[in-house]
């Protein structure tokens, strides 16, 4: 297998299938500029840029990216970032120095790469900068100078982010040899063949969840079956009746897709993980990992979505998302079966809806409670209502009792209060590191109250919707 690193083709044959890109860079490639701060996707010190042939570079966490998954791609590390003055003189780097953006410097390569990704996309403005670096932690600077560098980087002589790399990558065999035991099929037929051949294979899509098994618990799976290049799984079918989303579509593509379809979803997605996580993490992985605190399932529940499952033998079945989760981290996926796609009816998408994510830290944090509400309005009355929660039970769950109260009701204060009381009553959440059960129950009601009031009054009750203070 070959990949290019900073424009130089590198041979990576002989690596274990569980080798991460970060470990490879820091040891075999002799490029220790990329740092490990956590090995779990949380700190961004390991950020590198990745680009397939002809693709725009995107920031990823190299610590949880498997080497086999970047076969044939171009990797740019901090050492290879080039500008008009040669390596080490990219405008981002100059701006970081001039703004005093580093103190201990350990987070710095990661910030430089995240900002270089933003620079390549010509992203401007404070919101864009914050969004680009939300997955990078700095313990020293307090971030102000780094934000400043993000603003000032455009003041320097312009630079290509990946000089010549695109050309080099285009000349490479995209399906070059992979580490033995690493399989990255290109279509479903090949995927199913491999599933039959290796019924015990370890499945991975974006790896943002699965690879933590390797980096945190030191598992060394073999063989590895990578879903991220299966063409059908990467397809979005924008049909007239429904939207069919391939399971291996990463969040960053969903953000673009939903930009006009659902601003509430986009606002939530901007807080799902970080830019690096969203460039890799997939919808299929969010469902298949069966987590009760995954952010997409409540949304899919509120939209009456169905999941399409396919098996090694080519069999397919579609089930409502509501039937997919069986218990805590347990789904109906049978051995050899995988998530192929998720289908959302257009009609459901068109209903007024609200999606609220509550977490201890605003950015890049797992939800304490997530609420997705969608409802039809028939004049003064409500039609069908969907109220789905994450973080309140062992699985993502619709609150049937609440929906019953709302369906067909007039949205007056009494109804809202009854619905909120029901939302508190129906769940028995747990105390954990993120919140107490009591707070979760209070929030089940509080978020619902906010959603219902917003839908009724057309107001925005977000804490950030408040006017500035005029002294």
């Amino acid at each position: 297998m070959q990949l290019t690193v900073n424009g130089v083709p590198i041979d990576a044959t002989g690596s274990a299938p569980s080798q991460t890109l970060l470990r490879f860079l820091r040891t075999r490639a002799g490029l220790p500029g990329t740092k490990e701060g956590c090995a779990s996707g949380d700190c961004g010190a390991c950020t590198v840029l990745l680009a397939g042939p002809g693709e725009a570079p995107r920031a990823v966490n190299s610590c949880i990216t498997l080497l086999g998954s970047v076969a044939g791609e171009t990797v740019v590390t901090v050492e290879g970032l080039a500008g008009s003055e040669g390596p080490g003189r990219h405008p981002v780097q100059a701006a970081m120095v001039d703004c005093h953006g580093s103190q201990c410097g350990f987070c710095t390569p990661g910030f430089v790469m995240s900002l270089a990704g933003l620079y390549a996309a010509d992203g401007r403005g404070d919101d864009a900068i914050r969004e680009a670096i939300a997955g990078n932690l700095c313990r020293c600077t307090g971030y102000r100078p780094i934000l400043e560098a993000g603003r000032r980087m455009y003041d320097y002589p312009p630079a290509p982010v990946v000089p010549e790399c695109g050309a080099l990558a285009a000349g490479l065999n995209h399906s070059g040899a992979l580490p033995a035991g690493y399989h990255r099929p290109r279509d479903e037929a090949a995927l199913q063949r491999l599933l039959r051949e290796y019924p015990k294979a370890w499945l991975v899509a974006g790896g943002t969840d699965a690879v933590l098994e390797l980096t945190q618990r030191y598992a060394a799976p073999d063989p590895v079956l990578d879903l991220s290049a299966v063409a059908e799984l990467c397809t979005i079918d924008d049909g007239t009746d429904a939207l069919r989303l391939g399971a291996a579509v990463p969040y960053s593509r969903l953000e673009q897709l939903f930009a006009t379809l659902s601003p509430p979803l986009v606002a939530m997605l901007e807080r799902l993980g970080s830019r690096q996580i969203r460039n890799r993490g997939t919808l299929g992985g969010n469902l298949a990992n069966g987590s009760p605190i995954a952010d997409m399932p409540p949304v899919l529940l509120a939209w009456d979505a169905t999941v399409e499952l396919a098996g090694a033998d080519g069999g397919r079945r579609s089930i409502p998302v509501a039937a997919f989760h069986r218990g805590y981290r347990d789904t109906v996926l049978a051995p050899g079966e995988y998530v192929a796609a998720v289908t959302i009816p257009r009609a459901a998408l068109a209903r007024p809806h609200r999606i609220f994510k509550l977490s201890k830290r605003f950015e890049d944090d797992i939800s304490t409670v997530l609420l997705a509400v969608s409802m039809e309005r028939e004049g003064e009355r409500l039609g069908a209502a969907r109220v789905a929660y994450g973080g309140m039970a062992a699985t993502p769950l619709r609150a049937a009792a609440v929906e019953e109260i709302l369906t067909g009701a007039t949205l007056d204060d009494a109804t809202i209060e009854r619905a909120c009381a029901a939302a508190t009553a129906v769940f028995t959440p747990i105390d954990d590191v993120r919140a107490s059960a009591a707070y979760r129950r209070a929030m089940a009601a509080a978020l619902l109250r906010r959603a219902l009031r917003e839908l009724r009054e057309g107001v925005d009750l977000d804490i950030d919707a408040v006017e500035a203070l005029h002294a």
């Binding site: 002799g30 220790p32 500029g33 740092k35 701060g37 090995a39 779990s40 949380d42 010190a45 901090v78 050492e79 080490g88 780097q93 970081m96 120095v97 005093h100 580093s102 103190q103 201990c104 410097g105 350990f106 987070c107 710095t108 390569p109 900068i129 914050r130 670096i133 939300a134 932690l137 313990r139 020293c140 600077t141 307090g142 971030y143 102000r144 934000l147 945190q216 030191y218 060394a220 509550l358 201890k360 830290r361 605003f362 950015e363 954990d432 590191v433 993120r434 707070y439 209070a442 929030m443 509080a446 978020l447 109250r449 906010r450 009750l461 804490i463 950030d464 408040v466 203070l469 002294a471």
Partner: protein, 779 residues
């Protein structure tokens, strides 16, 4: 003031074309940071025979090790060596001050996750996989995990201690009003981005050379020698830089260094021990949680008459540095206020958890926030704006602290008034009152709080430093000093001092890695003292070199020694001068020494701990911050809208670096007080053991408007070029944000009282505080 012992008087600040002092030069490594070429310990190349260390851990919080079967570990792929406590040739206790920190558990288990044995294997992964194969049986004993339980059962690591000023109990009784309160505050994980790491290489003499990410290389050297049973000179420790320290690498860096060194000597191979993040979070100490109680007696204006406090620190399973830390909490329990009469009691509690350690502020923040909570409560009781109550209680020159140090310089009355004016405190207070009167879903809060922080190690002997300066024949200068670089810009500041002292261009100077064989017996880079002490030591070295150079110059130029000037990269006298390098070449040929070491010890400090009276601090650093926040009554979510800071760094050596320390310290303090929530379960297991569930601030969390300015006033004490220490004090400026959150919550009960809001004020805790305020009728 007494004359400094080890050097001449400090030259006055001099404005000059080449004078770098006071300029915002970038950090010496800035370009290497952004290019990825700055080398951290784990970036050093490995050898083909390199070994990597991992540790096996205790599975109970307190108990005894009954069986340890490592046969499967020994035969695991890649494993080369395995050690447990019995294999340590020297002293297995790596405690910094008092005993009690075994490198590997020796029968007795002190906390869940404690290293019990260690392996060295051919790869990082092989070592980590191997340790999971151990069979460890532990006999559990009843563990005390909660601080409250430790206080109640008097489970201590050290005996309680107290300061007493005048007759506080009588003053409380006589005061027109009184109140009491308490605060439970959580600890804080350092979360330096670079985890603990060390590499050890065997030397031909049978010793080791250790590369460590440590704030205290001399301690690493001493402890490694102790563990190996070698004289100290057989071990050298070297620190080029750390990827963050914040106190977490003062004593805690010793463990990986000692294990790596032990294996290096046993196997005669290079050995690296890097703690993966989870091990780092579980196996190294954190900021001390505290449970603090206070009673205040005061008048109708809120002027204090007397205060009693009990500060109970959660030291974890051993003393480590806790004596100094709880002491420093006590030293800062007055913050900036004249308590008039006070009894400050410190309790050094033991819990069966990892031993807590130094963290920026060293206990000071936990004492200081208690004073601020108390002042806010007093203000509510008397119905005055908390800022006015604060101003009325500030120390004036000549007042006495509860530990007997007189206030020589009272900066805060001016500083706080200036800040209040500059940031429109009064107008905003009114606007917020109006806003809160009209809004129920979102409310705002405001607070302006001071910081007064004592500068000096309270362990007197640590207040010494050394430096080494060489001038080479081409005029390039090599600087080495006892301080370590962890991002605070120390090397840059000390190089600026040297450049001014020798009157040369900054670029002439290269600072190299801190090494125990260049400057010996150093103190930790801690207590904000790095630039103060090492800057002075470097200046002393320069002055000693200059003595010879001046004599030679007088001879060369045919003038009096007093006429010789080092300035603008030249050396001269009268009208005559030479470029620095030309002069140096001549000096070399004339056999003048071009190298000297320097030494410094902080003057005047003198504190008697037993009597709890004296002068522990050379001077105080000051600052104040005004925070404005908004909170959502629906969810408890909040935003820090605006922060204005005015901070006293004396005459700044480097305003850009100082600004970075202030902003960074503030945000770190904000994390401690808002989203950083350490959690342990009842069995003593750390539940918040990764950045996935322990949340330090991101760029989004910094204040929406953030205005930081330096307060322009020279240090009255004779510090290096009249600058002030800046490392720790700014962390406590974030207390203003916590007070502002509490202010916003109190708006829900019309400011009749402050609801309970124990730090960290997570959205959940803010929500409950608002609920308490709303239900406030029954209080």
């Amino acid at each position: 003031m007494r004359k400094l012992a080890a050097q001449g008087p400090v030259p006055p600040a001099r404005e000059g074309a080449t004078d770098p002092v006071g300029r915002g030069l970038p950090q010496d490594s800035a370009w290497r940071h952004v290019a990825g070429t700055a080398v951290y310990v784990d970036d050093m190349p490995t050898y083909p025979n390199q070994l990597h260390v991992a540790t096996g851990r205790a599975t109970v919080a307190r108990g005894r090790l009954t069986r340890l079967d490592l046969s499967r570990v020994r035969s695991a792929p890649g494993v080369v060596d395995v050690v447990c406590a019995a294999d340590i040739p020297g002293n297995g206790d790596i405690a910094p001050v008092f005993d009690g920190d075994p490198l590997l558990a020796d029968g007795e288990l002190l906390y869940l996750g404690q290293p019990v044995f260690a392996v060295a294997a051919t790869s990082f992964e092989a070592a980590q996989q191997a340790v999971t194969l151990a069979e460890i049986d532990c006999e559990p004993l009843e563990a005390i995990v909660a601080l409250t339980a430790a206080v109640e059962s008097e489970y201590y690591v050290l005996p309680p201690h107290e300061f007493c000023l005048r007759e506080p109990e009588a003053a409380l009784l006589a005061a027109p009003l009184s109140l009491g309160g308490e605060l439970h505050m959580a600890g804080q994980e350092h979360f330096y981005l670079e985890g603990q790491v060390a590499t050890a290489e065997p030397t031909e003499e049978g010793g080791v050379h250790v590369y460590s990410s440590s704030q205290h290389p001399s301690e690493v050297q001493k402890l490694v020698a102790g563990v190996l049973g070698l004289p100290i000179h057989a071990v050298q420790a070297e620190v080029r830089r750390m990827g963050g320290g914040f106190g977490g690498k003062e004593s805690q860096a010793a463990m990986p260094a000692c294990l790596a060194a032990l294996f290096a000597v046993r196997t005669r191979r290079p050995v690296r021990h890097r703690l993966p993040r989870r091990d780092d979070m579980v196996q190294t100490g954190k900021r001390h949680p505290f449970w603090n109680r206070y009673r205040a007696g005061f008048d109708e204006q809120g002027r204090l008459h007397g205060v009693t406090m009990r500060l109970a620190g959660d030291c974890g399973c051993s003393p480590d540095l806790s004596q100094g830390i709880v002491d420093r909490a006590m030293f800062h329990a007055d913050n900036a206020y004249n308590l008039q009469a006070a009894r400050i009691q410190g309790v050094y509690c033991r819990t069966d958890k990892v031993s807590n350690t130094a963290f920026r502020g060293f206990g000071g923040p936990q004492g200081l926030i208690t004073a601020e909570a108390m002042l806010d409560d007093v203000a509510r009781r008397v119905g005055r704006d908390p800022l006015d109550v604060r101003l009325d209680n500030l120390y004036a020159e000549g007042d006495l602290t509860p530990y007997g140090q007189p206030i020589e310089e009272s900066v805060l009355p001016d500083l706080m008034r200036q800040l209040a004016d500059d940031c429109d405190y009064r107008a905003r207070r009114e606007a917020i009152a109006r806003f809160n009167g009209e809004n129920n879903d979102v409310r705002r809060g405001l607070a302006l709080t001071p910081v007064k922080f004592g500068i000096s190690f309270t362990a007197k002997h640590l207040n010494q430093a050394g430096a080494l300066v060489h001038i080479y024949t081409d005029g390039s200068i090599h600087l080495n000093h006892g301080g370590t670089e962890m991002g605070q810009g120390l090397h840059t500041k000390v190089a600026q001092v040297v450049a001014r002292a020798l009157g040369v261009r900054f670029e002439r100077i290269l600072v190299s890695a801190t090494r125990t064989d260049k400057v010996p017996n150093t103190s930790p880079t801690a207590a904000s003292s790095g630039a103060d002490m090492n800057g002075m030591a470097a200046l002393n070295a320069c002055n000693r070199i200059k003595r010879g150079l001046v004599a030679f110059a007088a001879e060369h130029f045919g003038c009096d020694e007093g006429e010789v000037v080092f300035a603008d990269d030249r050396v001269g006298a009268g009208g005559d001068s030479l470029p620095f390098e030309a002069f140096i070449k001549l000096a070399y040929l004339a056999r003048v020494s071009l190298s000297a070491n320097g030494f410094y010890r902080t003057p005047v400090i003198d504190f008697d701990r037993d009597a709890a009276w004296g002068r522990p601090f050379y001077y105080f650093a000051n600052g104040a911050a005004c925070s404005q926040v908004r909170v959502s009554a629906l969810t408890g979510e909040y935003r820090v809208e605006r922060v204005d800071i005015l901070h006293d760094v004396g005459d700044s050596l480097n305003p850009a670096i100082d600004l970075g320390q202030i902003e960074g310290g503030f945000v770190q303090g904000l994390g401690w007080l808002t989203t950083e929530e350490l959690a342990w379960d009842d069995t003593g297991r750390l539940v918040s053991d990764s950045p996935a569930n322990y949340k330090i601030p991101t760029a989004f969390d910094l204040p929406e408007a953030f205005n930081v300015r330096l307060f322009d006033r020279a240090n009255h004490a004779e510090t290096i070029y009249r600058s002030k220490a800046v490392g720790e004090p700014p962390l406590m400026l974030a207390v203003s944000s916590w007070c502002a959150l509490r202010d916003a919550c109190a708006s829900f009960c019309d400011y009749r009282f402050n609801p309970r809001l124990d730090p960290p004020a997570t959205p959940e805790r803010v929500y409950w505080a608002i609920e308490e305020a709303r239900a406030g009728g029954d209080r």
